[in-house]
Amino acid sequence: MAKVLPLADGIAELVHDGDVVALEGFTHLIPVAAGHEIIRQGRKDLTLVRMTPDIVYDQMIGAGCARKLIFSWGGNPGVGSLHRFRDAVQHSWPVPLEIEEHSHAGMANRYVAGASGLPFAVLRGYTGTDLAKQTDTIKPITCPFTGEQLTAVPALNPDVTIVHAQRADRAGNVQLWGIAGVQKEAVLAAKCSLVTVEEIVDELEPKPGAVILPNWAVTAVAEVPFGAKPSYAAGYYERDNDAYQAWDAIGKDREEFGKWLAGIVGVKA
């Protein structure tokens, strides 16, 4: 049964140095506040997993939380590149960052395999690309029924997956709607999970197309209003496109980033 706790306690309890940690949310419902709490608590040597590392992963990478990144698209959506990510890959700053690079289809299928309790997933993917040459976790496989050549990718089973949702009830049942990305698969694939929510309510009113994560499939729930900002939460607030654009200048410069980081950690620069 999910326990309801403050965000800082959830991170302290569930995220440890060296863990494989996935924060999911496809443009929508990105668990940004949880990422900031990981920075604040000074986690290190994490293997960060995410289909679309965007500015919160840029921030965690720049803060030195990550040793490795497993991903399929690392950019600032609609704006351009992630400069902390780029600095880490090109100049090992602040620490070297190993990368394991996939396509979206490959990452999505890796979570599906993880959620399904299977060791790998099969897809038509990566054919003819150099990704298959650079990434060890992409292998050819022959269909035992037709002899067709396909591609296998191993399951992802993070130590902990963190997602953000619109709401939960007091028993810890979680409800999210709108673009649901790969969050259900990422939570079910993980050894434990933390869900931050906009609000905790007495009763979950049904919503068309909503994803429900029952409380026995979730480890912990923390109420964090605006916990997805500057991404958005359908029904609560819109995406802050200006903040994404503003990040470009902050992320580009190590000193500017240092000032931002000092603000997050709560020390004077």
Binding site: L82, A105, G125, G128, G181, V182
Partner: protein
């Protein structure tokens, strides 16, 4: 009629989309063109975004692939595994509409790294996203990209999305089912793969553009089709709708 080369590019790209098609849309230039097409000659164009929005009808141009506007106006919002596995992979989608950072003469594209050494790149770019499977599985692929010798190279540094490989027949040999890139739209003209060799060849030139400009902005010795034609200028309606769309998105 006054218009910019970027407007000509968006209009030319929009015209390539036929009404009733389904289109897997990349963000940026492809999304602009696809939304223009839906507002002009192709009201029944189905737009599919990789965030899981099927049949999105945005009233303004989305900044990201997962803007709330796309979900709110979609016929259905499905999960990311579903959009790739059930909708893209079986070959249900007519056209994949993509941008690129680097494109070569056989339509292979690279949004991953600049430089020959993947482990120590000159520039690290965002990476593949949905592109490899979009390029593999859609019935055909259109690419829209501003033309420069930096972007249009003889051979990409990294093959992220397989186009025609090293020439005619490579896709069939690998078992890829879609036709691959059949059209490249730039701010200078249109290119299509040569039917014999699959090498991208200039087939249309935008009004006011000199051939020498196109040669200078292409990193390989570009071939020109025998029946090179001129792109019709944007109409007043096309320009008005494109500008309204851009204005609504500011």
């Amino acid at each position: 009629m006054n218009y910019t080369s970027d407007e000509m590019m968006s209009v030319a790209a929009a015209r390539a989309l036929r009404d009733g098609m389904s289109c897997f849309v990349g963000i940026g230039l492809p999304s602009t063109a696809a939304n223009l097409a839906r507002r002009t000659h192709a009201p029944d164009l189905t737009l599919i975004y990789e965030s899981g929005c099927l049949g999105a009808k945005p009233t303004r141009l989305p900044l990201s692939i997962g803007d709330g506007e796309l979900a709110e106006t979609a016929d259905a919002v499905v999960s990311v595994p579903e959009v790739f596995n059930y909708w893209l992979q079986p070959g249900r989608i007519d056209v994949g509409f993509l941008g690129a950072a680097q494109l070569d003469k056989f339509g292979n594209s690279n949004p991953t790294v600049i430089g020959a050494d993947y482990a120590d790149p000159k520039v690290r770019l965002p990476g593949a996203g949905g592109a490899p499977e979009i390029a593999a599985s859609c019935r055909e692929v259109f690419v829209v990209l501003r033309q420069s010798s930096r972007a249009f190279v003889d051979k990409v540094d990294f093959v992220t999305s397989f186009g025609h490989g090293s020439g005619k027949g490579d896709r069939e040999r690998l078992g890829l089912r879609g036709a691959g890139p059949t059209l490249v739209v730039t701010d200078l003209g249109l290119m299509r793969p040569d039917p014999e060799t699959s090498e991208l060849t200039l087939t249309e030139l935008h009004p006011g553009v000199e051939l020498a400009q196109v040669y200078a902005a292409t990193g390989w010795k570009l071939k020109v089709a025998e029946n090179l034609s001129a792109t019709p200028e944007p109409t007043e309606t096309e320009l008005r709708i494109l500008r309204e769309l851009k204005k609504a998105s500011e």
